[in-house]
């Protein structure tokens, strides 16, 4: 099973809740701002993610999406 975290940068308002709430420190704040002037998060260590989905549920602006894709049997 592979996991992917997708961030829509232009929706972010820079509240840092996703970064603070993550227990395994997957996310971090980027240095480059988006078009609105806020610094969105970026994925720092994807392999540490345990798919709790808290960042997706706590984002007030629907900017983070955590998806896990089941590997097909070969």
């Amino acid at each position: 099973m592979t996991v992917d975290i997708h961030i829509i940068n232009e929706r972010c308002k820079g509240c840092k809740i996703c970064v603070e709430v993550c227990q395994t420190n997957v996310l971090d704040i980027a240095k480059e701002p988006n078009l609105s002037g806020y610094n969105p998060p970026y994925v720092k260590a994807l392999e540490d993610c345990n798919i709790c989905g808290l960042c997706e549920m706590l984002c007030p602006d629907f900017a983070i999406q955590v998806s896990h894709i089941k590997e097909e049997n070969k």
Binding site: I8, K16, E20, A63
Partner: protein
């Protein structure tokens, strides 16, 4: 385009949103956005027809803007008629789920009598009351937030937090719960249960306004400001609602206090 091949800037719940109006106009980190996100995720998870959900919001305050961001059928009503309108709407159609987003001003200040009437007559509505401790209609109203742990934020002693779960229970509600905004999964399950309940459901969400906390000279990240309330809350299911007053207690009691379908 990132590694796994996402090409479109889309979120899975985008069909339920007005994506043109996102990011919303609320302050960054505001609890109303989290409650809206939780509501949308709960609806997305349940197998419920979106056509059967009707949002009603009132004209005053930040919570009145909820219907702008959701693509459900919605109405915006003047402040003193919102619960009466919703109760009538729920009585008209059998399958319709009417969901109200209310805050302090349009609920406690101007709708408390309609709330009691709706409870007595068994109206089929779901009230999501976002308690942000702000009771203010005009500038002349000097009642500023009266929060349980930050009492010195206001010099006015007239406005106090109110025991809404107790009022809902004695009015005849079928489902009563209270959570803070960081109890996000429990809140989602509560919204699902309330949508499945036939009758009058009330959920109180303690989501205090961030601006007043900053006015007091406190610093720190937004999650710390909200975390004060989660750290001081204690989960007690089926607690008697007389004990839930926010005024003179050292901890916020949260939980599911009443569900007549399960009893």
């Amino acid at each position: 385009m990132n590694k796994s091949g996402f090409t479109e800037e889309k979120h899975p719940v985008d069909p339920l949103l007005h994506t043109d109006s996102i990011p919303s106009g609320w302050c960054s980190g505001c609890g109303i956005g989290m409650v809206v996100n939780t509501f949308v995720q709960a609806v997305n998870k349940m197998d419920i027809d979106v056509e059967n959900i009707h949002i009603v919001s009132s004209g005053i305050g930040c919570t009145g803007n909820v219907d702008q961001h959701l693509s459900f059928k919605s109405d915006k009503i003047t402040d003193s008629n919102v619960i009466a309108y919703a109760a009538e709407l729920g009585a008209k159609k059998q399958d319709l789920k009417v969901v109200l987003f209310l805050n302090d001003t349009d609920f406690i200040a101007s709708n408390i009598d309609e709330f009691i009437k709706a409870g007595k007559s068994g109206a089929k509505i779901v009230v999501i009351y976002i308690n942000n401790y702000i009771y203010r209609i005009f500038i002349e109203h000097k009642a500023l937030p009266k929060t349980p742990f930050l009492k010195s934020s206001s010099k006015d002693k007239n406005a106090t937090p109110f025991n809404i779960p107790h009022l809902a229970k004695v009015s005849g509600a079928d489902y009563v719960a209270r959570w803070t905004q960081l109890h996000i999964r429990r809140l989602m399950f509560s919204i699902e249960d309330a949508l499945l309940t036939e009758g009058f459901s009330v959920i109180e969400v303690v989501a205090p306004c961030l601006m007043y906390y900053m006015n007091k000279g406190n610093t720190g990240e937004k999650i710390d400001r909200m975390g004060v309330y989660k750290e001081n809350s204690i989960i007690k299911h089926l607690e008697p609602t007389e004990n839930l007053d926010l005024r003179n207690q050292n901890e916020i009691i949260v939980g599911r206090f009443l569900w007549r379908d399960a009893d």
